[in-house]
Symmetry: C2
Amino acid sequence: MPLNRNGHTGSLMTAARPASAPERQRDPERTRTEILDVAAREFARLGYDGARVDEIAALTRTTKRMIYYYFGGKEQLFVAVLERAYTEVRKAEAAIDVDHLAPLDAIRRLAELTYDHHLDHQDFIRLVSIENVHEAQHLRTSEVLANLGAPAIDLITRILTAGKADGSFTTDVDAIDVHMMISSFCVFSVANRHTFQTLFDRDLAGADRRAHYRTMIGEMVVAYLTGVGRPVV
Amino acid sequence: MPLNRNGHTGSLMTAARPASAPERQRDPERTRTEILDVAAREFARLGYDGARVDEIAALTRTTKRMIYYYFGGKEQLFVAVLERAYTEVRKAEAAIDVDHLAPLDAIRRLAELTYDHHLDHQDFIRLVSIENVHEAQHLRTSEVLANLGAPAIDLITRILTAGKADGSFTTDVDAIDVHMMISSFCVFSVANRHTFQTLFDRDLAGADRRAHYRTMIGEMVVAYLTGVGRPVV
DNA sequence: CATAATGTACGAACTGGTGAGTTAGTTCTA
DNA sequence: TAGAACTAACTCACCAGTTCGTACATTATG
């Protein structure tokens, strides 16, 4: 299992060794990252209480003692996992560029990109669900994650402002509500996939339905922003 | 703590005793129900692995032994909790009557009623989230819950058929997708309440916002069913 | 009095966490 | 530059408290 990510804030930032370099026996960067990788999988798979520190350690090339050495405890490890996951998502969001599109196309595109992003990061959605069961008690204690939602809202605000200015949006709505509308659809598709499948015999996240639901969320948002208040024919 | 619910499928359905009757020392019906009530709260609050059998027993007037006597184990207890919760929700859904309304009003009303129902049963939504973390493994083993989604879909199908017939719905969409659209919004409002609050400083389930979001989901559905495909002004 | 219902006490396995000692790799010094 | 000195990184063995589950005794009730 190759390790290639690097998000550690060490005091001395060691440059990534070239592939030809001899494998170090001691590599704090690698150890930390590997623990986080495994922990993220285990927490997403089994929940906070379901995941076992011993098992996480066993799936690592290091020992349980190292988890306590680097993170302090199970709870702090979970917070670290959440922090890294949210930070990565934020980076992906920041890469979204729809400013060059007309407002209607921009908001549709944003919805579709959000949908794809959620479907591609199902473990992250699971972690968020788990954190909600715990009433966001870990997220709340993290300082790293303060004001993490702002950039996404700013983007939507820009689109809404432009759309109202040029008359393409007729519905008066605020950015957080639009974000919530898009998120709810995308999150539900992943988070409630299993009970929905059981009750309605339809896999919301199945590869064969992705295109359909991607289009649907785009149309939903556009219909809402252009349709409410317009007289029905 | 008064007990008043009664959903047990005992072999002999004992009629509810009048309030004046002497309190029985042994009352399997009451014991079973009380265990289910407490277990539902604890599982919803802490998740499957977070909830403790000893703690559930302690919050009951009976002992842990009775949990094993009546349900067999922690896992079967959780399944019983899910079964009762889903069955109650089904009853509430069956009580919804919008057949007398015009299609547009009917679908809007259904969305609004669904929203209220979700907000009033947040513990149920939590149980569903928890069950999804476990990939619906308990729900799948339950025979009681087979085809539980059918009535809800049938109702939507009737409304959609009527709306297409009289021309008030222009968008071609199937009933399960409409259900999913409504559910995603309502479920998200409750299930992701805590992380959303933390990131965006807005309580989606706050009493002061319920009217706003109830209206919003109604308008969303109506806009989607009437708006997609119509030329934008 | 037969039996369904209930309480008591206990145990085996697990689980998060830690004390204490060891080693790889770096840096300082003569 | 040899090697001493130092420290971060690491291993091992273990513990104390917990947690699900059960054997066995007891009592209410029809």
